[in-house]
């Protein structure tokens, strides 16, 4: 039986090519797949379609790839706090599609769960509605389609050799959904644990959605906006 466990990012991303679509987990810099992103930079892959809530932030994460002009297309919900993206948007160097965050997560889930389309009220009556079918239920809604990708790169706190994952605190965000929605899901973990070490009830993402997993290294785990008690 072929193993899902890879040595490192270089081994796990062996077949990623120019022009692919890549979902990348994380909210801001929280829970981002640092090792996989840096490997994409090292390999100088070009013309990527990045699908991520924030296309990096504060010069880090996917912004590492923005700096190298590796991303030609981005699908995201928020560009604030990302000077690299803003600059390239203004210079028309990147094609950005903005999607409301709840629609973004539900479209990714839909792709993973085989739902072919759904109706949501988000965005009705706004620019986002342009070119979209609408229909009134208890309130007017837009028809939204699944959002899938060639690859998903995500990070988890713990993972086992089958790919069962467990996420820490708010680092879960879009990662399990993206794992469901990509043809090839590559996971890096803080701790690669034994099969059975994650309690079956508390698996956050069953391994059936994961194709490759590796033990990550050298995490920065950057805190973007540290605020402490008795500050504001």
């Amino acid at each position: 039986m072929t193993s899902k466990v890879f040595k490192d990012a270089e081994a796990a991303l062996f077949d990623m090519k120019d022009g692919v679509s890549v979902m990348s987990g994380g909210f801001g810099l929280c829970g981002i797949p640092e090792n996989s992103i840096l490997e994409i930079r090292r390999r100088a892959l070009k013309n990527l379609h990045a699908i991520s809530n924030n296309i990096g932030n504060s010069g880090r994460g996917l912004a590492w790839l923005l700096k190298e002009k590796q991303i030609s297309r981005a699908t995201c919900s928020y560009v604030g706090g990302n000077p690299d993206l803003e600059a390239q948007m203004l210079a028309n160097e990147i094609d950005v599609t903005l999607v409301p965050q709840g629609t973004f997560s539900e479209r990714i889930r839909a792709a993973g769960m085989g739902i072919r389309a759904f109706y949501t009220p988000a965005g009705y009556g706004t620019e986002i509605a342009e070119g979209k079918e609408s229909r009134a239920f208890d309130m007017p809604c837009l028809l939204e389609l699944p959002l899938a990708a060639d690859f998903a790169i995500i990070k988890a706190q713990k993972g086992d050799p089958y790919g069962n994952l467990w996420f820490k605190e708010t680092a879960r965000n879009f990662s399990p959904l993206m794992a469901m929605a990509a043809k090839v899901t590559i996971v890096e973990v803080e701790q690669l644990v034994e099969l059975g070490e994650i309690s079956p009830e508390d698996v956050h993402l069953p391994g059936v959605f994961v194709q490759r997993i590796y033990q990550g290294a050298d995490y920065e785990n950057t805190i973007e906006i540290p605020i402490f008690k008795d500050e504001t």
């Binding site: 801001g28 604030g80 709840g102 629609t103 949501t120 620019e127 708010t170």
Partner: protein
């Protein structure tokens, strides 16, 4: 209309006092989503005995203030990417669940910031064409679903323009979605063609609001 510069007046609420107006609207034990910016101040003004459950759309219910330098965690943040702590009984979940809570009507109150809000209850808070795009983030989802949608904003822009309009001129975040508006000058309810004045900050007069008479109506 833009000539009334509120910053030169003593007669207005501080941001914390604005937050207190929001706190008064919260029922004990209710769930609450706080947007980025001014709304985050609300968290600090809620008496713990009210038992409010604060939701942040990046995937947490039960936000409780700030961490200490010892307890801080890179994986524990709110939707503004600020470090937080959580209270007993908190839970973490993925983004589909988080927005389902909102879209499904399980979050009682949602407080957002805004650039403009209008008499129809429409909100604009995500872009200024040709000038600034931050993206809508979760705002377009947040305005649908909560039982009570409150917008907190300063009454005037830095340029001195009133942010409460007959119709928004900036691209909308949501159409007809806002229930209450809290500015530094008062609390308002959009009624379709005008704003009902629920209350004004102490000493503030209707004249100071910088709005035409037809755009204003008093609480009946």
């Amino acid at each position: 209309m833009g000539e009334v510069n509120v910053s030169g007046s003593q007669n207005h609420w501080s941001k914390n006092e604005m937050a207190d107006q929001v706190v008064e609207m919260l029922h004990d034990g209710s769930s609450l989503n706080l947007g980025i910016g001014i709304p985050t101040l609300v968290a600090q003004r809620i008496p713990p005995e009210k038992g409010i459950w604060i939701h942040s759309e990046n995937g947490v219910l039960g936000v409780a203030g700030r961490p200490t330098p010892e307890s801080v965690s890179a994986t524990l943040i709110n939707a503004g990417k600020e470090t937080i702590s959580v209270k007993k009984g908190a839970s973490f979940f993925d983004s589909a669940m988080s927005f389902g809570m909102i879209r499904g009507g399980h979050i009682d109150v949602c407080v957002l910031g805004g650039m403009q809000v209008d008499a129809e209850g429409s909100l604009a808070n995500w872009m200024i064409p040709g000038k600034k795009v931050t993206g809508m983030g979760g705002a377009m989802d947040l305005v649908h679903g909560a039982k009570l949608v409150i917008v907190m904003l300063t009454h005037f822009s830095k340029r001195g323009d009133v942010k409460l309009l007959h119709r928004c001129t900036l691209p909308l975040t949501g159409k007809g979605v806002v229930h209450k508006i809290v500015t530094d000058l008062g609390v308002f309810t959009p009624t379709g063609e005008s704003f009902q004045i629920d209350r004004l900050a102490p000493g503030v007069t209707e004249k100071q609001l910088g709005m035409t008479d037809t755009l204003l109506s008093s609480a009946s």
